[in-house]
């Protein structure tokens, strides 16, 4: 097809069309994974191990959150039994909820200045 259009108009085919043809009619398409028995077994084992690992991670994270929550609840209860006034002020809903602009999400590589140690209160 590519040859036809070229010979007719004498202009090269559009790159986008070329790319589509490349991905559709490339002699190496499709490239199925053909596994032997032992290889398939290995693959299955790796897959199961990965699923198990992920489940463990999820569970651990869940337990950690639960422990933190329990700790917080116990502290609040202890505070309530110790001093009602302090407790009421501790669990009161705060009105001032604003985003913290200095927050950064974790990155793969650090910033040039790893940490601003020389920060001074204005």
């Amino acid at each position: 097809m590519a040859k036809k259009s070229k010979s007719k108009k004498g202009a090269p085919t559009d790159v986008r069309i070329k790319l589509i043809r490349y991905s559709l009619y490339h002699p190496k398409t499709p490239r199925p994974l053909r596994f032997g028995t032992m290889r398939m077994l290995r693959h299955w084992t790796i897959h199961r191990a990965w699923k198990l690992y992920q489940a463990t991670q999820r569970k651990e994270r869940g337990y950690e959150l639960e422990r933190q929550y329990n700790k917080m609840r116990d502290a609040c209860e202890e505070l309530r039994l110790t001093s009602q006034g302090l407790y009421e002020r501790a669990v009161a809903k705060s009105i001032f909820r604003y985003p913290i602009v200095e927050f950064r999400i974790p990155t793969d590589t650090p910033a040039q200045i790893g940490w601003n140690h020389e920060w001074k209160r204005g």
């Binding site: 490239r31 994974l33 651990e60 933190q68 006034g85 302090l86 974790p106 601003n116 920060w119 209160r121």
Partner: protein, 366 residues
């Protein structure tokens, strides 16, 4: 007048106090629920009166004395000191370090992906005969990558004991920069040559302008503080959460989170925590307190003879984060002499076992 008042009081208290000697002193006795109902530690339990913030009494009868004074002993014998502690953390700056298992799993998946992909369309990205194409070819030849199209395409797995996945270009950032197809390598060598030329010219005494660095390489994940294991610096262990612990001038139980007793009648936990941090670590820290509720507590009894009336101390920990700055213990008001920024694991060895057990569950592992 007097009689009518008395009957009113009696009516309100439903005859709970029937001692008729009210003419001299009126004893206000709250109906003690605890005497009839068995004591329970959960939410239906009665709040314990505290010297700092006394229990709000609903409608105290006229002329009655305050409950604490009425008990005839002040201060009470069995109250606890309340202190606010600050768990100030530096959140992780970097993504977590991948464990060995994950590293090799991702490597395995990348290789499988290579086997499924079509070959790289070089003719699309590079024009024939350009420098860029030459450089790409050179890099491909130098890299000795796994070839997913050749006769040995099936050999995509790592052999036992191989460490190939650890020097994988997609993991090692420095290597990645040096071998990307965008030509940083070439540019960097040119820049290096220019800088050397500038140095030589300067040595000869000519005035030169140093060429600026164009290519910025990513910075390594381990810093100088990591190598020195400098626990005072905040750019150490950047993929973990660090917690501030301070050392008091004493031999036992010296290391712990900053804490101090609530002062005054009206200070609540959050204010107390903010004041504690200010007194302990100075003002040059940009901090954010997460909430007003405590995230954990630690209570201990005083040794006998330590205090006259207090049983012990209850420390309620408040959560905070540091965003910039550094702790500074000069002129601190809490008799502190040292501080450290530690991860959860390191904390265990520094604060004692008992303290660690009390606080471990409110800290995050990573």
């Amino acid at each position: 007048m007097n009689v009518s008042c008395k009957t009113l009081r009696l009516g309100r208290l439903r005859g709970a106090c029937l001692n008729a000697s009210a003419t001299t002193q009126y004893f206000f006795e709250t109906p003690r629920l605890a005497a009839t109902v068995t004591h329970r530690s959960y939410s239906s339990a009665e709040a314990q009166p505290n010297p700092i913030t006394p229990l709000p009494v609903a409608n105290p009868p006229e002329g009655a004395l305050k409950p604490i004074e009425a008990h005839g002993q002040f201060p009470r014998k069995d109250w606890w000191d309340i202190a606010a502690g600050v768990v100030i953390s530096r959140p992780p700056l970097l993504t977590r370090d991948l464990p060995e298992f994950e590293q090799s799993y991702y490597f395995y998946q990348r290789r499988l992906n290579d086997r499924l992909q079509l070959p790289f369309a070089r003719w699309f990205y590079f024009k024939k005969g350009t420098l860029a194409e030459d450089e790409w070819k050179r890099k491909q030849a130098a890299e000795k990558r796994y070839q997913p199209y050749g006769p040995r395409a099936w050999a995509d797995e790592l052999l036992k004991g191989s460490t190939e996945h650890k020097t994988d270009p997609l993991k090692d950032y420095e290597h990645l920069v040096a071998t990307t197809v965008t030509g940083e390598e070439e540019t960097m060598s040119i820049m290096q040559a220019r800088q050397e030329a500038a140095k030589e010219a300067e040595a000869r005494g000519e005035e030169v302008e140093y060429p600026s660095e164009i290519v910025e390489k990513p910075f390594p994940r381990t810093t100088q503080a990591d190598i020195e294991n400098n626990t005072k610096r905040l750019d150490r262990k950047m993929s973990r959460t660090l917690y501030l612990v301070v050392k008091k001038k004493r031999d036992e139980h010296a290391w712990r989170f900053p804490q101090s007793r609530l002062s005054g009648k009206w200070e609540h936990l959050r204010w107390g925590a903010q004041r504690t941090l200010l007194e302990a670590a100075g003002q040059n820290m940009n901090t954010w307190f997460v909430g007003s509720a405590p995230i954990g507590f630690y209570k201990y009894k005083y040794p006998s003879g330590h205090a006259q009336n207090q049983v012990g101390k209850k420390v309620f920990f408040m959560k905070a984060r540091i965003l910039a700055g550094q702790a500074d213990l000069t002129n601190n008001k809490q008799d502190l002499e040292d501080f450290q920024w530690l991860t959860k694991d390191e904390l265990k060895d520094v604060v004692g076992n008992k303290y660690y057990k009390a606080v471990q569950h409110m800290l995050v592992a990573q």
